[in-house]
């Protein structure tokens, strides 16, 4: 089936080559990082986490929320399920890559398996993530294969999907408690952390899924259905409202106030949720696109800046405030990994669209 990703029109190839070029530049930046060490990033003694960790957190949320489309179990969503599975798989792969890019000695990555520390949430998080990647990708691919053959999917796909749900829940909990358990990341250690992590993940995940289905509709003429998007928009709205409320609570309890990027996040969140709450604007495609984009951006900025505090302050363990600004190397690596994930997702979507088109025509 993958051969369907090797045929495409001019714009498909331009997009693919563009992503490929970004992947290449990311690789060369990563090579520099491997050679010289993480000193090429903007991270340092006090700000030991940076852009990579932020992307990791954001993508983990997006990935884990995407599979919940299967949980909703509604007729309108059957066409969206495979897309959601592939989005989950791509996002999971990216998050794993970000975790690896952040490591000082990635060549010892397998130590996590060989010298397991079951008390470590990092271990559980990475275990759940890899299991989740395997289940979503396999299940999605098998479902697509069955669709291509015009037969019902094999029975084990159901079990895989059922398995992916507790894995997603596990990812949520492991990640949230991982950050929640750090005694001195004071901003993350609030009672609402775990809840907010889940709420924002759902908001961003569903919004991103809506955007993807709209892009697929526009470029390839595959429509997963307006009803499906409305269902997703409902979930995004609920999650968005919860997220904005929780974010607001945090705003007034901690010193978020002087970080401009977080103000942006809050305002974008409020605006997007407001658009989604009004049925008329939710049903209009332009407003839906605007709201979803704002929602994704809001969560992304919040995940990045919430961790780094607006690129200005980072509460170090000893209370001193340290500046963190990502370097260009870091940004190239980030762009490279995002492009790699997008490339994979594009190829998978291409196959989905080709298979569905085959069945229509």
């Amino acid at each position: 089936m993958i051969e369907k990703a090797l045929k495409g029109n001019r714009s498909y190839w331009i997009w693919t080559l563009f992503l490929g070029a970004l992947v290449a530049s990311g690789l060369s930046a990563y090579y520099q990082q491997r050679w010289l060490g993480l000193t090429v990033t903007g991270m340092g003694r006090e700000a030991s986490w940076g852009l990579y960790t932020a992307q990791f957190t954001f993508l983990v949320g997006v990935a884990a929320s995407a599979v919940m489309v299967t949980l909703l179990h509604q007729k309108e969503l059957t066409k969206t399920v495979i897309i959601a599975l592939f989005m989950a798989a791509s996002a999971t792969l990216m998050s794993i890559l970000f975790a690896v890019a952040d490591m000082g000695k990635p060549d010892r990555l397998l130590n996590i398996i060989f010298y397991t520390n079951p008390r470590s949430l990092v271990f559980w998080d990475l275990l759940f993530l890899s299991g989740y990647l395997a289940t979503t990708l396999t299940a999605g691919w098998a479902m697509l294969g069955a669709e291509k053959k015009g037969v019902p999917p094999p029975a084990w796909v159901k079990s895989l999907l059922n398995l992916s749900i507790p894995l997603a829940v596990g990812i949520f909990f492991a990640t949230a408690f991982l950050y929640g358990g750090l005694p001195d990341l004071s901003l993350w250690v609030t009672g609402v952390l775990a809840l907010r992590f889940i709420a924002s993940a759902f908001a961003a995940g569903m919004a991103l899924l809506i955007l993807v289905t709209l892009i697929v509709k526009k470029t390839k003429g595959l429509d997963t259905g307006k009803e499906a998007r409305e269902k997703l928009a409902m979930v995004a709205t609920y999650a968005g409202v919860a997220n904005v409320l929780l974010l607001g609570v945090q705003f007034f309890t901690t010193f978020y106030g002087n970080a401009p990027l977080l103000w942006f996040s809050l305002i974008a969140g409020v605006v997007s949720v407001a658009i989604l709450l009004i049925p008329a604007s939710r049903k209009s495609q332009q407003w839906l696109v605007a709201a979803c984009t704002a929602l994704v951006l809001s969560v992304w900025v919040d995940k990045s800046a919430g961790l780094l505090i607006g690129g200005e302050l980072f509460p170090a363990p000893l209370g001193s405030i340290v500046t963190y600004a990502p370097t260009s190397t870091e940004m190239f690596v980030v762009a490279g990994i995002w492009s790699f994930g997008s490339l994979l997702f594009t190829a998978l979507l291409k196959v989905v669209v080709a298979v569905k088109a085959e069945h229509r025509g």
Partner: protein, 259 residues
């Protein structure tokens, strides 16, 4: 015999110039690695039998004196990166506010608040860094020392924010470039691993006190077994009012301070 065969053969291949050097290298004078002796413990240690601890009498600690820091960092090949971002430290001096940020300052005099205090790894009995480490590279030794296995560390740095005392440093780049006067008795670290104070476990096996304790001109530092009621440190702990850093977190540090 084998060597001769090989040497002869290498001559034939004519390319083994560099390799041939190895065979002829008896000419090079011996290099200076210290001869090892048997450690003071010769049986396999029993976990939990001892728990090493340290008591810092900050009243004796002189302002401006950096002897313990210098001795420790020299002994363990700690690189001296100048910029704060990449700084690596095992033991260092810091202000009262930074060392005891959660202590009730109402009782502390101006004099105390203006002093600097030694900070180092607390070798907590309930250490968050060992709990979060996904590979067990940061682990609790049989004698209460929280040690990092530099052969196993994957450089994920989760231990760094996990430690409430900021005791861990990461090797952002190859540390060898910044080691001023390397010693052969203790290895360096490599790029990409986390490092910190090891309570001089390397000296303890030789029957020595930690470098900082030994070098302190005022004898402000006392080191010993917290499980041994007869040890100096226990006696001092029982006869003095001491405090630990951030005790409210429940990490049970093994480093105590007399203010």
């Amino acid at each position: 015999m084998m060597n001769e065969q090989r040497r002869e053969f290498i001559k034939k291949t004519a390319l083994g110039v560099f390799v041939g050097l190895g065979a002829a290298s008896g000419l090079v004078p011996a290099f200076s690695l210290e001869k090892t002796a048997l450690p003071v413990w010769d049986e396999k240690p029993v976990p939990g039998k001892i728990r090493w601890g340290m008591l810092i009498d900050t009243r004796k600690c002189k302002e401006g004196c950096q002897q313990c820091v210098a001795a420790c960092h020299h002994e363990h090949n700690v690189p001296a990166f100048k910029n704060r971002r990449e700084e690596i430290r095992w033991i260092w001096k810091n202000s009262y506010k930074n060392v005891f940020p959660t202590a009730d300052n109402a009782g502390a005099s101006k004099e105390i608040q203006s002093r600097t205090f030694l900070s180092l790894c607390n070798h907590c009995a309930d250490s968050p860094c060992t709990q979060i480490c996904p590979t067990g590279a940061t682990f609790k030794r049989w004698d209460g020392i929280v040690e990092i296995d530099y052969h196993r560390c994957i450089g994920c740095r989760f231990c760094m924010p996990a430690c409430p005392y900021g005791s861990l440093s990461f090797n952002w780049q190859d540390p060898r470039t910044a080691i001023v006067d390397p010693v052969t008795a203790y290895p360096t670290r490599e790029q990409g691993v986390v490092e910190k104070c090891n309570f001089c476990s390397d000296r303890l096996i030789k029957g020595l006190q930690p470098a900082c304790v030994e070098v302190c001109p005022e004898q402000a530092l006392v080191f010993g077994d917290l499980n041994d009621p007869a040890s100096d440190i226990r006696v001092l702990l029982e006869s003095n009012v001491t405090m630990q850093r951030k005790p409210e977190l429940g990490t049970k540090p093994s480093v105590f301070y007399i203010i």
